[in-house]
Assembly symmetry: C2
Homo-oligomer: 347 residues x 2
Amino acid sequence: MIQARLMGRVTIEDVAERAGVSVATVDRVLNSRATVRPRNAARVEAAIRALNYQPDRLAARLARQRSYRFCFVLPRGGNIFMRDLATEIESHARHLAGERVSADILYTDIFDPEALSASLLSVSGKYDGVALVALDHPRVREAIQHIASHGAEVVTLVSDAPGAARSHFVGIENAAAGRTAATLLGRYLGGRRGKIGIIAGSLALRDHAERHFGFAQVIAAEYRDLSLLPVQEGRDNPERSMELAAGMIAREGDLVGIYNIGAGTEGIIEALQSSGRSRDIVFVAHELNEITRHALLDGAVDVVIAQDPGHEARSAMRVLMARCDKAAIIAAQERISVDIFVKDNLP
Amino acid sequence: MIQARLMGRVTIEDVAERAGVSVATVDRVLNSRATVRPRNAARVEAAIRALNYQPDRLAARLARQRSYRFCFVLPRGGNIFMRDLATEIESHARHLAGERVSADILYTDIFDPEALSASLLSVSGKYDGVALVALDHPRVREAIQHIASHGAEVVTLVSDAPGAARSHFVGIENAAAGRTAATLLGRYLGGRRGKIGIIAGSLALRDHAERHFGFAQVIAAEYRDLSLLPVQEGRDNPERSMELAAGMIAREGDLVGIYNIGAGTEGIIEALQSSGRSRDIVFVAHELNEITRHALLDGAVDVVIAQDPGHEARSAMRVLMARCDKAAIIAAQERISVDIFVKDNLP
DNA sequence: CTGAAAGCGCTTACAG
DNA sequence: CTGAAAGCGCTTACAG
């Protein structure tokens, strides 16, 4: 130990010498690349242990000349969050250019199973790793299977397809996000009695459905004084969401809260503000961006539940790189958290 | 561009060839290592641009043979959070052993300026980087200055010393954490009127003082129905905190909330539960650990404000490595967020 | 099943 | 001010 520190780093050469074999043989047992005579394998392993040898990851990557060609499949014409995600992907890809990483972005209609699976098939075989905002559909699972069986690593991003051959999901637990929204809305209402309006993009989206499920579960179990209006689908569209919100505000005199599961938050803010009942109705929305940040400071939105697109972009690339290298990931580092923002803890 | 992709990676050799110089000269302009004839420098820069050359970071680190010897200075006999932090540092140091990183931990009495500065001076000159849980005191600033002027990079961790020669602070904005606690406590009380008890470890600790400041500021400005009891100092000790909490619960009939700025949360939970007023008093505490996690699920604690010790350990090492290499950091990745946890978004 | 040797893309003395 | 050459610690054909 003291030897090792004084003598500098322990190299594969030191291990080879001590085991009485060549570095190639050490490499073979280290990376289980080829069969090594058991006796030699044992001697190598003993030497590794005796010297507390740690292979130099940098040297290995350099020698291997491995490059990482990644493709990110994102929704075409996405909402603010998806645009932020694309920006983060581009920015981090630039950052990783010095580590042989390149990332293309392919925009497609992720809500159309045929279009999405066609896009996936079109990139199959061309990349080392693919990250996609998934739709949970047999056709899509099939396309993911195709990519994976052609040697690429696949991760889902933001929206998962649980049954599919993806090796990892980079995103939040959406049911937990919905429960979190419910608890904060419920506690902010502090025993007030009334109705809660819910607007989703579309309940056909797995993440929206899961948030709704979690939200409804907590309200039903813990806030008996609150009742849920039927979910309205705003298609993540501000105008449509505004009309839906304006409608419920006008119809329901005892509307005390609104939960926006998807995008289009600016429309709902507009409806709240022009109704004059903004102060009175607790409003919980998703994702932190220019609009929701401003609205939190304004008081138009009370709580934002969020996932960090920068973290997701970096995590997707780290996970894909690790999978390509068959290396382990740091689970805690790659966990995407359900973030809560109020006006006081904004970044 | 297409050339570059077809031909594989652009190397320093390609740049040298195109510029009509040797690789050593390219290296000189790349790293501004020595004076290069302006004409040659210009040709090199032109070649870099023309070929869109990106130096290979891995090869550079390998050739440089740089190692990173870090020292983490932590409080001896610290609370749960500090123990978690130490665990995370050890675990991440093990992870980075394959990248020539080693990290020692030195435990000392960080609350005693003399002891802390003596510890700092004892490691000065022996490491490439030092991360310390700081105390904001002239003696400590002086010791930090000493380490920095002997060539080591210094970052503060969790607790900052703003005037000092540290190049970065790895931790949260504590005033924001206090404001966040106040907003959630205020909103959870939903207009109820009464007194708020505050327990701190010690207001001599900068982070505790800042949290208190932020908390008081928001309550004063936004929650006129709530009034603050004088801060009690529990020294982060569960027994003492229990007595303080029990005292205020007994004395103040209209106690509606408690904010624990520091550690010792288990003591306050005990006081609340044995008083039978746990359900009635909103309790906000700091840091997520076995105790507070359990208490959130129990309902004994309503909200936890936290910083992630795993993120802090990883960030401190990344920042120290970057500073040693004179490389840029990714600001968003190194920002430590003020996390909010309720029972529903626990990791 | 094993080893000698070349090579990955940089950096670093050293000589000029 | 500049370049030829060795070296960082691995991996990879290739020959045996």
